[in-house]
Amino acid sequence: MTDDRADEGAATERAAPCLLDVAGLTVAYGAVVAVRDVSLSVARGEIVAALGPNGAGKSTLLRAIAGAQKPQRGTVTFDGRPLHGLTPEAVVRRGVALVPEGRHVFPNLTVQENLAIGGIARSDRDEMQADAERWLERFPILGDRSGQLAGTLSGGEQQQLAIARALMSRPRMLLLDEPSLGLAPLFVDRIFELVAELRSDGVTVLLVEQNVHRALDVADRAYVLSVGSVVASGATDTLVEGELERSYLGIGEAG
């Protein structure tokens, strides 16, 4: 395991200050270690993918960064300040928002209310309302259903809502956990278009995906995780296919 932050192929980004820095992170559920001594970094404005088979610890990694899971060891630094040990509600106030796996929209709240909860940490109510309206325009499907309960939306609509909700906090960094999981191809296209658009909005992205090819298309760099550890990393165009395949086919799966 290297904790050398300068990954091969990241030469162009190296000059830019590193926004997120994860060092030696270990997370366990009881006796089951889900993430083992993982180090990674994301530069400002980058889109970085974390890939790997089921049980590789990708979701746990994102949840630990977001404060929803306490790490046993290691540090998470965002914009030069430590994030580890903070509650989820404090992490989002630092500018890091998570779109959880499985969307987790609030089914008993309307689309509008879901967006309002996304912006609950903000105090600029008028601007927030304007933001919500912008998102409803950007996702016309949601705009048509703004008064509808989120539980009545389709999976793809819920995913769009989950992303818009997280962006309502105006994060500097978005953590996306399996955004394309279980979606119809049309929605998958829409989601990846949006991820690409986030770059021009100035939002840095750490993306966890099962859909390796789509993720590699959109990301600048990728880390490959297997059984809780980083087994390969690099710029997406230089990542050797063989390394990816080995990690997917390789050794058993944990938690």
């Binding site: 977001a66 404060g67 929803a68 509650t87 989820p88 509600e89 989002v92 106030r93 928002a97 998570l98 959880p100 987790h104 609030f106 089914p107 008993n108 709240l109 209310e113 879901n114 309002a116 909860i117 996304g118 609950i120 940490a121 909700r165 997280a166 906090s169």
Partner: protein, 296 residues
């Protein structure tokens, strides 16, 4: 049962039902957000009672006495969470359940030692004993006041939960606590708020309860907490709309069984009501409106 008798009993049912509805709402509110059953909830009714007693001794008029009762229960509920439940935030359901039993015993014991085991009378306005004659129908003033205050409280709570930022945050937290926190909802704040509202509801119901019984003793809260529990289970625990409907259902059941059962069976009215509740839960274990989300 004649039509006028029916109208009379209907008002009684609405009145008792609204007390049960408020009680069940308070219990469900905390369950929805925290997933915990607070068995010390009945003690909030007792605390409202003793606060009323103290205010009465201080010579306050009844309106002030009632207000003191409501506020005391609200404050006690928030303190209860801060002192007894917050240190156990991540403990199991059973640990929290037992803790709440312990808190209930502690509060009962404190009143037994500090005041008396015996009941103390709380004088209420004479108006409460009067009845209005509307044509052939005689309706007790207290029943009208109780039903009215119940209705106002329910409307106020509904609009708070729907319109205010904090109310929407509470509904989000009761649907999915972790995700609500990830979005920035402050866990401690939303839990304190749930306990505050829960306590205020227990306080309002407590004042209405004591206006009927006109006395308080260390175990005054026992029957209310049991009824609240039954009503919220009928409605589906954690479901706010269900809690209200469960409360009115239980109140109606009790009043009409009292009115309809022949004299010799009257002592069994309570048992008969519980039997019907058991039958309902046998068919629908999740309650009549059971899901684990606050649907108000």
């Amino acid at each position: 049962m004649s039509p006028s008798e029916f109208a009379q009993q209907l008002i009684n049912a609405l009145s008792l039902g609204s007390i049960y509805a408020l009680l069940a709402l308070g219990l469900s509110m905390v369950y929805g957000v925290l997933g915990m059953l607070n068995f010390a909830y009945g003690e909030l009714v007792t605390i409202a009672g003793y606060a009323m007693l103290a205010a009465t001794y201080a010579g306050a008029p009844f309106l002030v006495v009632a207000l003191v009762g409501v506020l005391a229960a609200g404050i006690a509920s928030v303190l209860m969470e801060l002192i007894a439940f917050r240190p156990l935030r991540d403990a199991s359901f059973v640990s929290l359940l037992f803790t709440s039993f312990a808190v209930a015993q502690l509060i009962q014991g404190a009143f037994r030692q500090a005041v008396s085991v015996r009941a103390r009378g709380i004088p209420v306005p004479e108006l409460f004993d009067e009845a209005l004659q509307l044509g052939p129908v005689r309706i007790s003033v207290l029943s009208i006041i109780t039903a009215g205050i119940g209705a106002i409280s329910l409307v106020a709570l509904t609009s708070f939960m729907r319109r205010s930022r904090a109310g929407v945050a509470m509904r989000a937290a009761s649907a999915d606590f972790t995700t609500a926190r990830l979005m920035g909802v402050r866990a401690n704040r939303v839990i304190s708020l749930a306990f505050l509202i829960s306590g205020l509801l227990a306080g309002i119901a407590g004042v209405l309860w004591i206006a009927r019984t006109t006395s308080v003793n260390p175990t005054t809260g026992f029957v209310p907490v049991i009824q609240a529990f039954i009503a919220s289970v009928i409605g589906g625990l954690g479901n706010l709309r269900g809690a209200v409907l469960g409360g009115f259902f239980l109140g109606t059941l009790e009043v009409f069984l009292q009115a309809l059962l022949p004299g010799s069976l009257l002592p069994y009215a309570q048992a008969a009501a519980l039997l019907i509740v058991v039958a309902i839960l046998y068919v629908r274990p999740q309650g009549l409106f059971g899901q684990r989300t606050a649907a108000i």
